[in-house]
Symmetry: C2
Subunit: 732 residues, 2 copies
Amino acid sequence: MRFLELLPYFFVIAVAIAALAAAFKLAGWVMAKDMGTEGMRRISDAIKAGAEAFMRRMNMTIAALSIVLAILIFFGYSVLEGDINKAVAMTVSFVVGALCSGFAGYFGMFTSIRSNIRVASAARRSLNEALQVALRGGAVSGLLVVALSLAGVAIMFAMFGGLSTDGDRVTAVPLQIVGFAFGASFVALFAQLGGGIYTKAADVGADLVGKVEAGIPEDDPRNPAVIADLVGDNVGDCAGRGADLFESISAENIGAMILGIALYPVFGLKAILFPLVAGALGLLASIFGTWSVRLRGEEDPMKALNRGYMMTTGVALAGFFFACFFLLRDDAAPNAYLWFFGCGVIGILASFLFVWITEYYTETRYRPVQQIASSCQTGPATTIISGLSVGLECTFMPIIVISAAILASFWMGTEALKQLVADGVLNNHSAGLYGTAVATMGMLSTAGYILAMDTFGPITDNAGGIVEMGLKEEAHGEIRNRTDRLDAVGNTTKALTKGYAVGSAALAAFLLFSAYLDQVWHYVQIRGIDMSYDEVMRVDIGKPAVFVGGLVGAMLVFVFSALAMKAVSRAAQTVITEVRRQFAEDPGIMAGTSTPNYGRCVDIVTKGALKAMVLPGILPVLFPLVLGLTIRYFYPGSKTVAAESVAALLMIATVAGILMALFMNNAGGAWDNAKKYIEEGQYGGKGSDAHKASVVGDTVGDPFKDTAGPSLHVLIKLLATLTLVMAPLFIG
Amino acid sequence: MRFLELLPYFFVIAVAIAALAAAFKLAGWVMAKDMGTEGMRRISDAIKAGAEAFMRRMNMTIAALSIVLAILIFFGYSVLEGDINKAVAMTVSFVVGALCSGFAGYFGMFTSIRSNIRVASAARRSLNEALQVALRGGAVSGLLVVALSLAGVAIMFAMFGGLSTDGDRVTAVPLQIVGFAFGASFVALFAQLGGGIYTKAADVGADLVGKVEAGIPEDDPRNPAVIADLVGDNVGDCAGRGADLFESISAENIGAMILGIALYPVFGLKAILFPLVAGALGLLASIFGTWSVRLRGEEDPMKALNRGYMMTTGVALAGFFFACFFLLRDDAAPNAYLWFFGCGVIGILASFLFVWITEYYTETRYRPVQQIASSCQTGPATTIISGLSVGLECTFMPIIVISAAILASFWMGTEALKQLVADGVLNNHSAGLYGTAVATMGMLSTAGYILAMDTFGPITDNAGGIVEMGLKEEAHGEIRNRTDRLDAVGNTTKALTKGYAVGSAALAAFLLFSAYLDQVWHYVQIRGIDMSYDEVMRVDIGKPAVFVGGLVGAMLVFVFSALAMKAVSRAAQTVITEVRRQFAEDPGIMAGTSTPNYGRCVDIVTKGALKAMVLPGILPVLFPLVLGLTIRYFYPGSKTVAAESVAALLMIATVAGILMALFMNNAGGAWDNAKKYIEEGQYGGKGSDAHKASVVGDTVGDPFKDTAGPSLHVLIKLLATLTLVMAPLFIG
């Protein structure tokens, strides 16, 4: 009986270990591929050196900040709160979460760097082989990230007493290991910011001087910033996204486990472990999906990837059904598992719709991109105006989808546990919330495959660069054509996964701030404050202090986006100055007779990005802290008014963050593809005035879609996890 | 005794009449000025014809839409709600509000058109005279708008029984005349959208083909779109802003009167009439202020305007003190008037700070604009990126100011009426809310002067155009220099009043949605729904349906902004095509030998703007309606869950709207001045690449600051007033 109860736990651990093994096996398969010519290796080595140097320095900065925070957390919980056990659990889980997140990011970069050149080399032989190497290279970090998150959360859970037979102890654990999620998000925010600033500063800098001023093509070896640009793809897209997805999965799993506490009296441990089991089954589905991808003849590689996605989804759905069947069934609620399976289907459906909507707004086949391209004919100003309006407009459908998903899954949750609510075992709100949590788990179940597809993008992008620079012009032939085809697919997958990331952040948001309110309720009980559950679980924005919290939360999103963009434009300015200087001082560079100093550009961007990431990274930590403490100590109200104000900050920041991220990601993606559309020959094609205008649009879109936008995904979750950790400060 | 009670009412009416008289006297003074040379009159007549044709056609469209809405309102209240008295009050007040708003806008345009040429003519004699004509021309519409609003609200109030001796009847009236505010906002939204789209489509179109492609200066008579551009200043800036301020004052006064109902048991009619009395005293202060402005020697005209602003503020403060002293004093709360005066001071202080912050972010003297100008050196892309980040960043300080003002005035309100709350006569929330209402009244008290300053901008802008086009080059001399100086001042005042408008919208927001909750509570009582006051007055975004309302509200702001901008870019495209066509078909135009067809451009913009304004105008009416009805009929929950969801829509839309408006107004203003800064000779001055980049920034900023941004101010208030009217639909 006891063994049966713990079976789901062991299953999770076993799957995580199996997935790690699969990741290493895949890595071995990729590494066994050859590394092409010496010229290619030279480029690859330069990229490797630059990326590793940046990651090393960035991780040092992050480590320093994390240590400070860890000490503060330990101090807060041990001295202020006076609970040494909690202090240890919070601090240890924070440190482990931060380390794992850092490792996930590092490993994402590590494998992608090593895959790039092998894809380039495989492209010399066949498109299919190149595709497989790229996808499996991406899958290595996809599997690793998901497995690491599952294993990390599971181990923390057991370590602090989650497997005990004492119910009170078990249900206290999820609220104590939120440090893990906080650590993960904290590191992820810096990784995404640092990497995002790096990649776009290098890209914008290289493009503006190279393409626009000097008139040389992309990836031209005469451009001194070209290596920095390629390094950027690895540290921004791969490492950043790896850390981002790691923290998403961790935060959402822990949040769902917290909501599961309410169901503990009914389903026992199973309710708390359900998110991890669903994740583990999704992970198996992703392994299966990535392994199955292969090209059929000369088809569009995107088709093969989509087939893999469908395969993954199908298997994940089946797995989800079993998870619901075995874990969420009880005599008191015999049909609950069906309703919960329905929630999971909603989550999966929502992720599909998000991907589809993103496609509509960012692909050249559809109207929005074509309209932007058409407005390029009247110059850069109209290009920008129409891109901005497409970005703002495209928030409509995703919000409708998310709203429907939240309402439907909440309602299904209450239907699932109707009888238990009627019997007074559960309250309606907890039942509904668990429904939204299950929907989120459904959405996350394909995360491994999605991350593999995502990492595919920068890998093929770099492979193209390596072919361009490492092989002589006359040797290109079919090869560059193949990497270009893969690169185009990579652009699509990158845009799609961003849609997926916002979608999951939006759906998860509701779960995460409900977890925060649970945390607040926990402390209200501990401190013996005389307030009812209903009073505490309420976030009434009709109260001035709470409304102000919402105002501040939305403003935080605007200011954060500003700082992220400003960081890119500042760091880009230094690159531009440096590239101009090199061109001016050594005319041999443009003539192709002397090699530019790539290292100096790499060095300049590294310094600029690290300096620029600190302020936007610290802001989201300071805002809730200052607001909560100000309201608590200086504003009259109930004992939880400060916590309620912080809840409003969190919720409205989430709303604003989702919208802003959608706006920035899609505007950026649409500009990018409007440029591609013109380059395909529309409105005068390459070199026309319309093309020049479209390059301006693309450049503006760069920090939108690759720095500020993705950082906002992380910001939302960071706010959720940090308020979970800081909650006790705002009560009393 | 009865006379004493009604004295404040008669005072308001008397001041409104006096102000109308003063406005006509001012108008007479302006009209008596001469109209310059025949060349100038020709240009002026062309502007007049274009503006009047547009206003006529726009008002027809608006009238048609308003009639449909009036019928729906009457039908809803008489048939669905079954209350014929209410139906009459709502419908009549809606129609009167709509008419007055339309008239306010029309009259704003009417006087500005007639002032332009007189300013141009006066500039031939002296700067001081031109300044006085421009400011007094602006003051005509400023006084008229404020007086009309006060008189309209006061008359509606009396007409439906506000002066009755039956307390129950009196306190029901403010909730019934919300139709007035709704009508005013509904018309104002279309006026602001239509005018805003017109002015920027013409401006962007004229600039892109004229300045960028053909290389001819601004206001060059060879540009076929130049008259349309000048027409735009009148119908966009003057008429739009007039309607905007009219609806702001109306909505905020009625909202404050609704909050005053709670204080009726204590202060009687005085609590409800206080907002009108404070407004009347502010109006007197504004008359005094505008009348006192004159230049001292060769000083900067801005100094004289600022002196007038200070003067107005001083007199308004004194008036405010007396209003508090005579109306908000009671034996049970002997010091209440001092606390409320404090709230008023907070409001006035907040408006000062808003103006100052706007100045910091949009003036060439300070860092933000200089940074944008510096980034122009690296081309349009960096110009746009840095402008966007300045716009996003500048939300920080205003939100801190507004948050502080809301918290402080709410707290002061509770302190003012502490004893009454302790005695159980009042609840704490109502007391605090009245404090925020009084602060809003403080902020609004200088509205008349502010509007005069604002209208000053487009008047001087047009005067410059008339001089440029109507006088021969050799006759310009000192004249153009004088109008340029006034125009520069006008740009500043336009930016400042936008800061003021957002500030007042933000502070008023809290008052308006509290009024909405009062309205909901009113219907809960009428329908005998068994819910407590506390339950109804709550907006708990922790509930899924309410959170979804918030999501949809924020999204509405994004989509609305998108549509507003898209409208400009579409209408501008048609102008560009037309101007290009005229240049191509008749080379004599560029040579200066034949006159371009100005009329066709005016016609094209008119049609384009009218067509484009309908969708964004209807959207904010549809969203709350569809959301509220969907939740009410399809989603399980309490009987007020739909009303609560709509409340969240309103509140989060307000938060998002304030931020978006700040972003757009300030980014637009900063780009505009970055261009001016470069034109003053920085970074190569006029004609340099940096200048070209800055023109792109300015063009992108145009629809930001003159279409979408100001329309958002109106949108916020429209949402508030329309939910007030629709409230009964969402309950039950």
